[in-house]
Structures are given as C-alpha cells and as structure tokens.
Point group: C2
Chain length 461, copies 2
Amino acid sequence: MIAPALQNEFARLVGRENVFDDASDLLTYSYDAALLPAQSPGLALRPGTLEELGRVVALCNQEGLPLTIRGAGTNLSGGAIPEGKGVVVVTTALNRILEINQADMYAVVQPGVINQRLFDTALAQGLFYPPDPGSQAVSTLGGNVAENSGGLRGLKYGVTRDYVMGLNFFDTEGQLVKTGSRTVKCATGYNLAGLMVGSEGTLGVIGEIILKLIPPPQASRALLAVFDSMEAASQTVAAIIAARIVPATLEFLDNFTIRTVEDFSGAGLPVEAAAMLLIEVDGHPAQVADEAARVEDICRAQGATQVRPAKDAAERDRIWTARRSAIPALARLKPSVVLEDATVPRSQVPALVRFIRDLAAKHELTIGTFGHAGDGNLHPTIVFDQRDEKQFARVREAVEELFDKALELGGTLSGEHGLGLTKTRFLVKEVGPATLAWARRLKKAMDPKGILNPGKIVERD
Amino acid sequence: MIAPALQNEFARLVGRENVFDDASDLLTYSYDAALLPAQSPGLALRPGTLEELGRVVALCNQEGLPLTIRGAGTNLSGGAIPEGKGVVVVTTALNRILEINQADMYAVVQPGVINQRLFDTALAQGLFYPPDPGSQAVSTLGGNVAENSGGLRGLKYGVTRDYVMGLNFFDTEGQLVKTGSRTVKCATGYNLAGLMVGSEGTLGVIGEIILKLIPPPQASRALLAVFDSMEAASQTVAAIIAARIVPATLEFLDNFTIRTVEDFSGAGLPVEAAAMLLIEVDGHPAQVADEAARVEDICRAQGATQVRPAKDAAERDRIWTARRSAIPALARLKPSVVLEDATVPRSQVPALVRFIRDLAAKHELTIGTFGHAGDGNLHPTIVFDQRDEKQFARVREAVEELFDKALELGGTLSGEHGLGLTKTRFLVKEVGPATLAWARRLKKAMDPKGILNPGKIVERD
C-alpha cells in the first residue's frame, strides 16, 4: 500500500485517471506467463509521455520504491512480476510509432507499441521488421527489447538485439541517457543499447527505441515435413544446417504438441506424426525455389514420410498461427504449465530431444516439446497440476535436470525468455561466481537503491 | 620506468623473454595510426597463455599500473596509445584459433589472431567470417572486438558486434568473466559481450572470443561505376538503397583518392573520374544477376559515365586491394594524415560529401574522401604537415566543424574507429551530460583504480 500523499504526487505527474490502487486493478498486474506466485503491486501507473515516465522514475527512486515496468505481461520467466510494496509502470499509453524512415530504413517507437503493429505498419511502407516472438500479436517492443525476444524467424534474421540501432533510457534519477544512433554504424561511446537489450528492466527505464528495418524478402515458400520418429526430425534439422541452407524458419513440434495444437486450432496438422518440421525459406525467387527443393530432398533422405508445400498463403498463415498458439493450446490441458527455454548448439538438438523424452518418462510427466530447432532453442512444456505437491516436486526436479543437461551439451539457461525470477538462482552454474560478481557490481553502480525490477537477473543482495 | 623488482615479478609471470623495457622496443608501442603525440609505456609484456594474461591484469591492478592492450596497433583514434608510466600488453603471442565448429558454425579465437587468418581458415572449411576492416590483413580480432570494427562488407553483413556470440574477459582482479554462449541465441544474464564490444579496453581484458560464421555467398559480382560529379555518385548510393537493394559493398572514392590510390597501386582506376563507386552484390547466382543489372541501370539513370563489371576475380581483387590501400596511399603524400570517420544516416551522404568539399576550400586543406557510403560512413582524410602550425590549427578547426556537421545531419562521431583519445572530449556534444555520467559511473564501478586503458572513451576524472 502506497501512502495517499505519495499517490497524490504520482497523480500530479501522470493524472489521477492513470493511477490505479484498486485491488482488482492491481491483481491484473500481479502475474505474467511464468508459473510463479502472483504478487500485487502497491500501485500501478500509466504515464502518457516520455517526460511523465522520467518523472515517475525519479520519484520512485527518491522514495526508494521498487519499480517494475510492464508491457503486455507475456513474460515467461517472471520478469514482469512486481514487488508487493512497489509500483508497476504500464507502458500501454506509450504506444506511438514516432517515425518510420523509408530512406534510411529504421523506425523510432515508444516502448508500448505492439510488435505486430510495427510489423504491419512497416510492411505497408515496403519495409520489414523480422523479430517475431510467439506473442507478437500482443507483446510490446519495450518488452521485446528488455527480454531480447527471439521468434520464429530468428534462424535467418536474428533476434531483437540485432535490430536495436539505438535507444534512450532513464537512469534512476530520471535523467535521459542516449545511446546508439539513427546511423547503421555507431562506434561512439559504450554500447549501452546492447547492454540494455535483455537487461529485464533492471538497469534503466527504456523511453524510445530506434529499430532497424530491412527490405522484405521478395518470395517465400513454406514446407511441412512429417516424420515417424523424433530422431529423424531432429537429425533433419542438423542436416539442413550442414547443407549450408539458412531457412527463415525451422520449427520442430513433437506428437503431443501437434495433437494439442490441432485440437485447439483445427489447422489441419498431421496428428499421427511422431514429429513434424515447419520450414520456411525466403529471399530471391530463384533462391527460394532452389532451397525449397534441396530442403525437400534432405527431409526425404532423412526419412520424412511426407513433405509438402503449404498450398497457398492462407494455409501457410493458418499453420503458422496454429504453431504460435502452442502456449495457449498446451496451457488449457492442465491447471499448470511450465514452458521452458532450453538452448543448445544446434548440432545437439537430437541429443536434447532424446533427453527430454527420457526425462518425461523418468519423472512420469507430460512434456510437449516444440520450438526453434534451427536455433538449437526448444521449448519443452510441462503440463500438470501444481496442487499435486508430489507432482510439482517432480516438475521442479525435471526442470533442474533439464538445465544441467543443456549446460552439459554446451548450451545456455535461456535462449529467449530471460532469467527473470525463475532462473536467476541457476545463473552461477552457467557463468561462475566472477561473472555474477561483475553483474552485481554493474547493477549496484547503476541502481544504488535497487529500485529497478528487484530480483530479476541478479538476486537481491 | 617500472622498478626492477616489479619487472622481475612480471618476468616470473610471462617469462623474461616476454618482458620488454628497452627504449627502442618501447618506442614501437608508443603510437598507433591516429595523429597524436607518441608516448612510450614503462614496460611491454607479451603473455603466451590465457592464464598468464589474467595474472598480468591482476598484478597491474594490485600495483595500480595503467594497462593498455595492443594488437596490431592499427587503431585510428589513439586507443592503443599507452600511459607513460604504464604497461602495454601485446596480444601477438595469443594467436591461436582454438576451434572452428562446422556443425554449429562458429569459431573460438584468442585475441591476437589476425582477422585475415580467421577469414582464410574459415573459408577453407566452407565458412565465412564477414567483418573486413580495411586493416584486415594485419589487424587482430581482439582489436576488432574492442573497437567494434566495420569494413567493406558492413552494408549487407554488419559489423564485428553482429558476429560476437560470446567472449570471456578478465576483470581488474584477474578473474575470468564469461558472457554469451556457443548457442546462436542466448538470453542468460546481462549482455556483457555486447557491452565489451567497442569498449576499447577500458572495462576488462578480453581472453577468448566466440565468433559466428555463416555460409559463404554462392556467387558475387563486382561493378565499377564512374561519375563526372561527386553529387551524382553520392545520389546513386541513396538511389540503390531506395531501390531496396542491399549490396555487400558500396564504396565511394572521390577524384583525389582515386588518383592517389592509382598512383600507389597501379590497379587501373579511372583517374579522370570526379568520383567512383565500387559495388559488389552477392548471394544466389540468380539474385546476383538480377541485382547487378538493376544496380547498373540505377547508376546509368543517375548519370554514371561508365559502369562495368570487374573482368574477372583477379581484377576485382586488384581493385579491392587498391581501395584497402587508401590509407597508406594518402599517408605518403604529406608528413601528416588525419583520417576521419564521419557517419550520417545514408540519405545524408550527398549533403556530407558537399559539406566536406566546401570545408576543404574554406580551410585551404587537401581532403580526400572515400568510405562506406552505403553505411553513411565516410572517411574524409586530410593530408598536411603538422609542423606548419597555422595549417595544423586549420585542420583542427575543420575536424571540429566536420563533427558538428555530422551531428547536425543526424549522424554520430564515429562509425567504426571508436573515440579513443581523439574524440573523447566531443562525446558530450552527441550524447549529453547524463549519458556521459552513466558511462563514467559504469567505468568507475568496473575499474575502480582506473587502470584499464585510461582516458579512452571517457576522460580521466
């Protein structure tokens, strides 16, 4: 609970109608998409301008109030879960696309702009914003930057980090720090934009973002490849990469995910398949034709029982949308869902897929596995009932074994969901104590009172 | 001068034969490619292993000795110029390619590996390392990372930052900090690898670097376009970008640079041309054919007096090598050379070219202009005699006016050469005091004694 006098001060900064202290409002901001206990904040604020945002940050710092920035709340690692005594600042009113520059191919946006809206707006002007997290229809660009979101096009086009040319952010005193540029190259000062990407709201509060746009691909072709074993599907991923083909998309779905998604979406997926790959190649029309033919040959050589192109754009969109619905589809099966983000060097995808299958058997759990196999980034998803304490304990064990295995295979704790609250305590396993100490020193220097999204990435002191 | 007892301690760490205190040796490490007063260090050290490097860092910190890391010394902003009482640590013996991973397409290298050697080694294994600074035949990957080096392929392929998947570095205590991963995606902890790229040796000492490799382009075609005005050449750059074509290379040379380079190299450049563009398109053979034809059409429509493909690979290599020799070619004209790095949004290249021509006339200076026009990144190069104090004063004025103009055009102080010692004092003009304060707080936290390459990026307190 924030004292009324302080609430009045916030109301003076952002307007009374943008201050929320009602319990039901605060409940809305108490959780994200990670399986963690909900925690209502003391207050929620909705600034409408960059200046208001800066003043809110400064006042929070002055009062020592924890501040958690929130876009659409689609975070999968608890990064948007606030402190009970703190403030949630929602970016939904900071939703303007400030500039689309055709000649220099960039966009300038406020943090609350929804990813899909930038994509659509840019495309209407003949430009392309590639990063497409599964949540792109709802998640915000500020959240995408704070989490360094990936997506289905990551294999060829990279992740959010690869598109941030520059940004400004508020330091804890509410001063605006400017980093990067509208130029395609910038070696001026520290790469603070690079540091802010993926910093989960712990180092500063993002104000405006300059995002690189590129020419859209001239052509694309979508393929579905069906396999009667998970091994064959995952070996095919490695074989495509080994052939030096870089598809825009190379997605893996196991049988459980296929059935669940089909049940949810009715998109026409092959529910009998042990696994399938969704593949899209794009670029020059001749390249697309060549690569599609080569990919088809590789799939068949690796034992695909069926390989076929999407009949038309409508079928392609239907299937890709179905894939994007994997999370809600899996989530409705059981009361609880843990969506993991295990990431390994791509050649280790077959080993990881085998391990996950054995892990499910060992702990008697239902795990659906899908994800960006071409990136070595899978999302094993455990559906269960957390009220069953024994089952929940097995889930926690399985997740820990999964992290250990990913690291053993040369991988990393998170490919695109961040550490948030869920993985922070495992960080030291991957990077060692010196790295953690360096990160903490950094955090302490830039946020001496520890108000910025406390407990994310590095634990509290 | 470093006390003999301390020299013995360093000798114990790296071997007597890797400790240099002879005045003539130290002179070698007193300068780089920036026009600044030379400054011999107190001692130079050449560690041969990662462990030795870490111990050297720890001892320097313990003794409060300034430490400047040096690769090939090709730095153009003074980043490799040491402190008089400090230590230069040369990375020439840390020159091993530790791994080239074909399946997962990455390389792991020590900082002293020369860029060209990685390029050649990767290519022999069917892989491609795109960043190609003009100095690639001699400059080291550690230096490339510390400076976020660009190159001729930057337009399509990006700069060094885009290829650093991970790295480790020593903190000032000599503890190894690990960041990034061998996976293509990594959202684990702060993006410290991104922060280290371009940090000019001021935040830590790089030990090993994981670099992304990609499939090489299947085909490429090089074109030379000749113009009878600089305006037409620079407008052509904007027209190519506006046509949504992304060449691998899109280089601009003015008449002065053409003549100087031709005189130096005898590569067969058109010495009568007011300006020329070197253009290379690459990718799928059909795409290359299409794009080359479209680029040729655009050049002619913009008034090119001649457009022709390189006759063969030999001619292409001869011309590209000639372009890479622009710095030595210009440098031999006069005793002094200042090579600038003005960078603007690409659509502003024509305005920048005009400004530089007028600037030369106004200050009665000889300025050759060439560079990565497709990136908006030009290298206006002033050749003069710094012993002529009045002329030198005019050079300094011209450089400052150039910075102001680049900023006025929405550009940045440095596209790829970094701030080093030469531009540090101008940083505040571009980013403002809050950004500078944030950068200084960062530096202070990570290097409390200020031993790491003092005075670079942020000035001394």
